[in-house]
């Protein structure tokens, strides 16, 4: 019999925090994590001593670990976790924390992610990301993720006929959203000509297909909906979550990331379908991966993402296309910047803000249901971890 996950029940995500991104910082990753924890406690009205669980995602924490941080931050905890999951780490950290709370292992879990964008730490990360990568990918131009994702992008374009302009439409929509996000690193108006003429990095990828590494942190709290109500905190409920790892093993450059393999279970657990999603947050390390998510999560058929992007307003405000689906309303990593593993949290913190009516100038009126997906961990020639969760705003 096929495995099926037990339902997520009574789980709240609340108190989203963002430590503003900067291009470079003298502060350590630990500082960014500490500032995020401080803001979390402040926003939630919780004393630090009440936090009893902590999940930390970072690639630049060494020589420290999440255990070191308990001492650094003066915490005594009953549950800790340090998911090393790249761009799938936000969604999966929320799922892990939800299970800990649901099982009574912890009451208030602080989920934190930060990195500090030191160029040498990025090179060391890329060079030794994995054995396969070190031995069989890095020696071929030492291009890091740009190299692998350029191969994926060309394969997608050749198979489905997508063009530079199709990826450009996505990037322009996210830049438009970023203009309403004071935290976004890139806010200047972007035209299709700017996009198309940005310098080549790893053809067909151009500079504006690549995220800007920066320093920053994201975080949120996980607790029961009952506790969130008692604390009078605006919250969203995590009603479904799925993940898979190394699911796409075809001996070819892949055209999908793995979401299609759990999509039915995800929507079934949430009791809804793609047409019920009011706001969508995909992991946008590169535009082609967003196209994979649109297809894998059922927003369009395989190979149809370019047409979907042409026919859909992905911006905060509709411009009158056939369909309006606000997507990556913070600007996503492509415009807000990628603070390392915090990039995997970006969709979650923004989704919590949207569904609790606290997205300010970016607020989508009536947004009730969000889907947040993640993708991460290129071990050799493809990303291995796919994840997605569905969140709903609380009845008021």
């Amino acid at each position: 019999m096929k495995r099926s996950r037990r339902p997520y029940q009574g789980i709240a995500l609340t108190a989203p925090v963002t430590i503003p991104y900067v291009r470079k910082s003298d502060h350590s990753t630990t500082w960014f994590l500490g500032m995020a924890l401080r803001d979390l406690c402040h926003n939630a009205g919780l004393a630090k001593a009440e936090i009893d669980g902590m999940s930390v995602s970072s690639f630049s924490l060494a020589p420290d670990t999440v255990t070191s941080l308990t001492e650094t931050f003066g915490l005594t905890l009953s549950w800790i976790d340090s998911p090393y999951l790249g761009g799938s780490g936000g969604v999966i950290s929320a799922m892990r924390a939800a299970r800990a709370v649901q099982n009574g292992d912890a009451r208030y879990v602080a989920c934190l992610a930060a990195d500090n964008a030191k160029p040498q730490s990025f090179k060391a990360l890329v060079k030794n990301f994995s054995r396969f990568s070190r031995d069989a990918a890095y020696p071929y131009g030492a291009a890091g993720p740009n190299g692998v994702f350029s191969l994926l992008t060309r394969k997608y374009m050749q198979t489905h006929g997508a063009t530079d302009e199709d990826f450009g439409r996505l990037c322009l929509s996210q830049r438009s959203n970023a203009q309403l996000n004071p935290h976004a690193m890139l806010q200047a108006e972007l035209t299709m000509e700017d996009y198309l003429s940005s310098r080549p990095i790893a053809e067909p990828l151009k500079l504006l297909d690549c995220v800007m590494p920066c320093a920053g942190a994201e975080g949120f709290l996980v607790m029961t909906t009952e506790d969130a109500r008692a604390l009078k905190l605006p919250y969203v409920e995590l009603i479904a979550g799925e993940e898979n790892h190394n699911a796409i093993r075809d001996a070819d450059v892949p055209l999908r990331g793995g979401w299609d393999l759990f999509r039915d279970e995800l929507y079934s657990a949430a009791g809804c379908g793609p047409h019920d999603i009011d706001v969508l947050y995909t992991y946008d390390d590169y535009p082609v991966i967003v196209f994979h998510q649109f297809e894998g999560l059922g927003f369009c058929a395989p190979g149809e993402a370019a047409r979907f992007v042409r026919d859909t307003d992905l911006t905060i405000h509709s411009t009158g296309k056939d369909r309006h689906l606000p997507h990556n309303t913070s600007g996503g990593q492509l415009s807000a910047g990628q603070a390392g593993f915090a990039g995997g949290y970006l969709g979650l913190t923004e989704a919590i803000r949207q569904l609790t009516g606290r997205a300010g100038a970016r607020q989508i009126s009536g947004a009730r249901t969000a889907l947040v997906s993640g993708f991460g961990m290129v071990n050799y020639d493809r990303g291995l971890c796919a994840a997605a969760t569905i969140l709903t705003g609380a009845e008021s």
């Binding site: 190299g147 350029s150 060309r154 050749q158 080549p200």
Partner: protein, 117 residues
Amino acid sequence: MSATISLQRCNDCARPQYPMRELCGHCLSPNISMTNVDAHGTLLSWTRLHASMEPYFHDQLPCLVGEVRLVGDVMIMAHLDLAPGNPPPQSGMSVRLSLRPALDDQPAYFATPEQGA
């Protein structure tokens, strides 16, 4: 043409594998040995790199890199060995792999288009 390259193969289930590892990725057998396999394969996708984190590559930019599938479904990243002035690579083209020293003087795969392919 009988060009070959040396790859790991499982002595128990006979599957070739790449990248190298200490056991068979299919049956988990530790009985692995090196064996010669046909060096001809298909170019699946390629890129022209304009940036690299290694100074070694800087005076070679832009450089061509691709991914090749050999018989046995082995996937190998390789430098593309195309003389300047040649037409750009085409996904699906037939290539032959060979080893030559590259970054850090370590042997690396180079894919050369097959004549008349």
